[in-house]
């Protein structure tokens, strides 16, 4: 059937209108439908996700500008079910022109394709929190930012126009702000505030453990102020970006890379776009794949790309470089634990880098034991991925599996079967990688790769051995004390009994007590 030109035009217009409408709905609807993926599935989680996104951004921004981060989080209750969440940092600030974009555009901006260790694999950023706030309270996002001592501080109130996916400035003014530089963002939202497990304060405490260079402050709705002091003034080493390692590559990515490359030949494509491929190796791969070394990458067909991939799979490569990773560090991790937990014993370990599917990763572990830690409950397990605390899905995580599959009795803790050990103990596991494999979209637990589990087990067990040594020593000290009190109690009884049995004098009794005590103190046998 043929259509007239007019009809055709009408249909096109209709389609465009439709598309506009779809777009209208899309952002807010996408958000509403996917709340759970973004961490806003319940009022409790909404506040903690907002704080997570805000603190991550603040830490990243300060570190980028080589500034030791100071981050203040404040939560104020405005009505029964509404809270005003404010995150303030001392980062480099945002230039005036960019401020409105932060809210509108960040929804697309992402650290997603960068191959280096970043925090920002959690959710889709602070903009989602702003949108959530606007959807639940209608209130704008409030941003204050200053980029230097001599520059003014700008205050903005922003609304997101979901039609255009752009922010609308509803207020803009210059204000007094007693800070040289930094950013402050406030979002009012429906929420719920609680203490205890998986709470905001737990998140802040854990973040302080994994970021000893940061000073954090939390002001809770009732006015309680909790300070998490800095443990070091050394900035963490900035992770470098790296090229993909051939061991981890997949066909789709390889085809995209072939299309996008500026290299003129296959050989130079291999040597420049991947890490750990030199000219010799590149030639060998081409030979194995039956491709010319000077073939144009953009003209490689799909089946040829597959051959290329198979050839790469057959080739052995040096492990990827590890300067793309920024672990906390063995000493700093221990220091962090000392700072945040009142215990008697601390230990930590950093493993050397290892590789899973071509991705380099480093595992660190630490243990705090005794002191005021709770003794009759299961161990507190703190999991980090790229310095970000993982607070949910503990049982599904590689870290938990590695801990429960370790025999803790040999290290002096109680444990029934393959369960989490019991005792006054905190166990920390940090995995740093350019690509942390999470089990699901919510990114709360690490997938069970044998290479990762092996590394975590080795790290945790090394800490366990140190703990075991300590506990053994403690027991010995305790036994010694017990022995002494035993002697004090019962030696005089023996002296007294012998005195009565043999009609001895006081001096004989004293001699017996002295000799017996000396003899028993020397004997090591208990």
């Amino acid at each position: 059937m043929q259509t007239t030109l007019a009809e055709d035009k009408k249909e096109i217009t209709h389609a465009i209108e439709q598309a506009k409408k779809q777009r209208d709905i899309s952002i807010s609807e996408f958000f509403t439908k996917n709340r759970h993926l973004l961490g806003f599935d319940n009022p409790l989680k909404a506040i903690s996700t907002t704080i997570k996104e805000g603190v991550d951004n603040a830490l990243d921004a300060a570190e980028d500008a080589n500034i030791l981060p100071d981050v203040i989080v404040e939560i104020k209750q405005t009505t029964e079910d509404r809270f005003l969440v404010t995150i303030e940092d001392n980062g480099p600030g945002i230039v005036k022109e960019q401020i409105p974009n932060i809210f509108g555009k960040l929804l697309y901006g992402s650290k997603f394709h960068k191959l280096s260790q970043t925090r920002g694999q959690q959710g889709i950023g602070i903009s989602a929190a702003g949108l959530y706030g606007q959807l639940t309270t209608g209130k704008p996002v409030k941003i204050t930012s200053k980029i230097g001592k001599t520059k003014p501080a700008y205050y903005y109130e922003l609304h997101l126009d979901t039609t255009k996916n752009e922010s609308e400035v509803s207020k803009e003014e210059i204000i007094e702000w007693g800070k040289n530089h930094g950013t402050k963002i406030s979002i009012e939202m429906e929420g719920k505030y609680q203490r205890g497990k998986r709470s905001v304060s737990e998140y802040m405490k854990y973040t302080a453990v994994s970021n000893p260079h940061a000073r954090l402050t939390l002001i809770e709705p009732d006015g309680t102020r909790i300070d998490y002091p800095r443990g070091t003034t050394d900035m963490p080493v900035k992770p470098k970006e790296i090229k993909p390692h051939p061991d981890g590559i997949e066909l789709g990515i390889l085809i995209n890379m072939l299309k996008a490359t500026k290299s003129k030949t296959l050989q130079s494509f291999l040597t420049t776009e991947f890490s750990r491929i030199g000219a010799g190796t590149a030639k060998k791969i081409c030979g194995l794949a039956n491709l010319y070394t000077n073939a144009r990458p953009t003209r490689i067909a799909k089946n040829e790309a597959d051959n290329l991939l198979q050839a790469m799979r057959k080739t052995k490569f040096i492990a990827p470089p590890t300067d793309c990773l920024s672990p906390i560090g063995q000493d700093l991790l221990k220091k962090s634990l000392q700072k945040e937990f009142d215990a008697d014993f601390y230990t930590s370990i950093k493993r050397t880098a290892a590789v899973y599917r071509g991705n380099p990763f480093v595992v660190e572990a630490g243990i705090a034991y005794g002191g005021s830690l709770q003794g009759d409950s299961t161990a507190e397990i703190i999991r980090f991925a790229n310095r970000v605390p993982l607070q949910y899905q503990q049982s599904a995580c590689s870290s938990t599996k590695s801990i429960t599959e370790t025999k803790w009795k040999q290290y002096g803790l109680q444990q029934s079967g393959k369960n989490i050990p019991v005792g006054p103990v905190v166990i920390v596991v940090h995995i740093a990688s350019v690509w942390v494999p999470f089990t699901s979209e919510s990114k709360e637990s690490i997938a069970h790769y044998p290479e990762i589990i092996k590394e975590i087990k080795l790290a945790v067990r090394e800490c366990g051995r140190q703990l075991g040594k300590y506990i053994k020593k403690q027991r010995k000290v305790k036994d010694e004390a017990k022995k002494r009190s035993y002697l004090d109690k019962y030696v005089p009884v023996i002296g007294e009994a012998l005195k009565e049995l043999l009609d001895l004098k006081d001096v004989d009794e004293r001699l017996i007590n002295e000799n017996l005590k000396n003899y028993l103190e020397r004997s090591r046998k208990l």
Binding site: K483, Y486, L487, K489, Y490, V491, V493, I494, A497, L498, E500, L501, L502, L504, D508, L511, I512, N515, L516, N518, Y519, L520, S523, K525, L526
Partner: protein, 360 residues
């Protein structure tokens, strides 16, 4: 000096000498269990073999070592003062020992048993007496005891207790006897004793009836032994037909036990013979039975394998194997199935007619 006091002092002196030489003081105590006894029918009781455990004074053992010495001082006081202390009283005396006090009576009893074994004496010689009743006597016997205030001899006629009975005291060494009885019948249950007393069974048979009330106490065993030795009277034992009656009661009375092996010499009655109820009686007298309990089955298996007494006497081995095969046990009172006085009029006369058939 009293033998016990001498032994206590010797031990204490050894401990003192070792301590002052800065050496490890120790005491050795015979191991008291069936695995450490011999049985020879000519000797008549379970004799200790040589195995001993040495208790050295270390930090770990210092508390029980101190308690042992304190218990010895108590024994010394009691014996020297011609007094006595019950086991319960000894336990309460320890409450005065500060940290060395006992928390429960079984602890002080165990220390007492250790001292007994250490010196190879019985606890009465140490000045300690049990709370338990010795046993009841009725029949053709006059017991000669002393009046506790005047010290004069008094005669107790056991025929004059009517439907009641004379109670064996906890210490029997000072007693003397007058009797012309033909035999002593030691009975397991008070119920059976009552029936025989009520119907003057002792008068009809010129016998002495003793109610043991379960496993006979040391005093009861010693009483029977002294009486039987002194007056050369045979001892017949009448219990339920089950491993408890055969072993825990009869064998303990006759040859002693593994646990008290150090004192069996005094507390055995080698001349005792087992009248019944035997497993064969269950068949011969068609007695109503109960199935053996699991503990019974286990006990039979155990004694067949480990008890030196059973190993020595084939008759007992056969009897136990018969019971094992039947899988049934019977009580003394089961004889009442044939009439309340069947036991007196038929069963006992029947049995006593032919004492050769008694089990050894």
């Amino acid at each position: 000096m009293n033998e016990v006091i001498k032994k206590i002092k010797e031990t204490a002196k050894k401990v003192q000498t070792k301590i002052n030489k800065k050496q490890k003081p120790e005491v050795s105590i015979p191991i008291r269990s069936l695995s450490n006894v011999n049985y020879d029918p000519k000797v008549g009781y379970f004799e200790l073999k040589g195995a001993k455990k040495v208790r050295a004074l270390t930090v770990n053992t210092i508390k029980s070592f101190a308690q042992t010495l304190k218990m010895m001082t108590l024994s010394k006081q009691v014996v020297e003062g011609n007094d006595m202390a019950t086991k319960r009283e000894a336990y309460y005396v320890s409450k005065n020992w500060g940290d060395a006090r006992f928390n429960e009576q079984p602890e002080s009893d165990a220390v007492m048993d250790d001292i007994e074994a250490m010196f190879m004496v019985n606890r009465e010689q140490l000045g300690f007496v049990p709370e338990e009743k010795g046993g009841d006597i009725a029949g053709a016997l006059t017991v000669i005891d002393k009046d506790l205030t005047t010290g004069k001899e008094i005669e107790i006629d056991c025929t004059k207790f009517g439907s009641g009975a004379y109670s064996i005291p906890s210490s029997v060494e000072q007693l003397k006897f007058k009797t012309d009885a033909k035999f002593i019948l030691a009975i397991e249950t008070a119920g059976m004793f009552q029936r025989l007393v009520k119907h003057n069974y002792w008068k009809k048979t010129n016998s002495i009836l003793i109610s043991m009330g379960g496993v006979p106490t040391r005093a009861c065993r010693r009483f029977i032994r002294r009486l039987a030795d002194d007056k050369k009277i045979p001892v017949y034992v009448f219990t339920d037909s089950d491993p408890y009656g055969f072993m825990s009661i009869y064998r303990t009375l006759k040859v002693g036990s593994g646990n008290a092996a150090h004192i069996n010499k005094y507390f055995c009655v080698p001349q005792a013979r087992f009248l019944g109820v035997t497993p064969q009686d269950i068949i011969d007298y068609k007695l109503p039975t109960h199935p053996l309990k699991d503990v019974d089955k286990k006990k039979i298996k155990d004694v067949l394998k480990n008890d030196p007494f059973v190993r020595e006497h084939k008759e007992w081995k056969k009897a136990l194997e018969l019971m094992q095969k039947m899988g049934q046990r019977a009580e003394q009172q089961a004889l009442a199935a044939w009439g309340l006085n069947y036991v007196m009029n038929t069963y006992l006369p029947d049995k006593i007619k032919d004492t050769k058939k008694f089990l050894p």
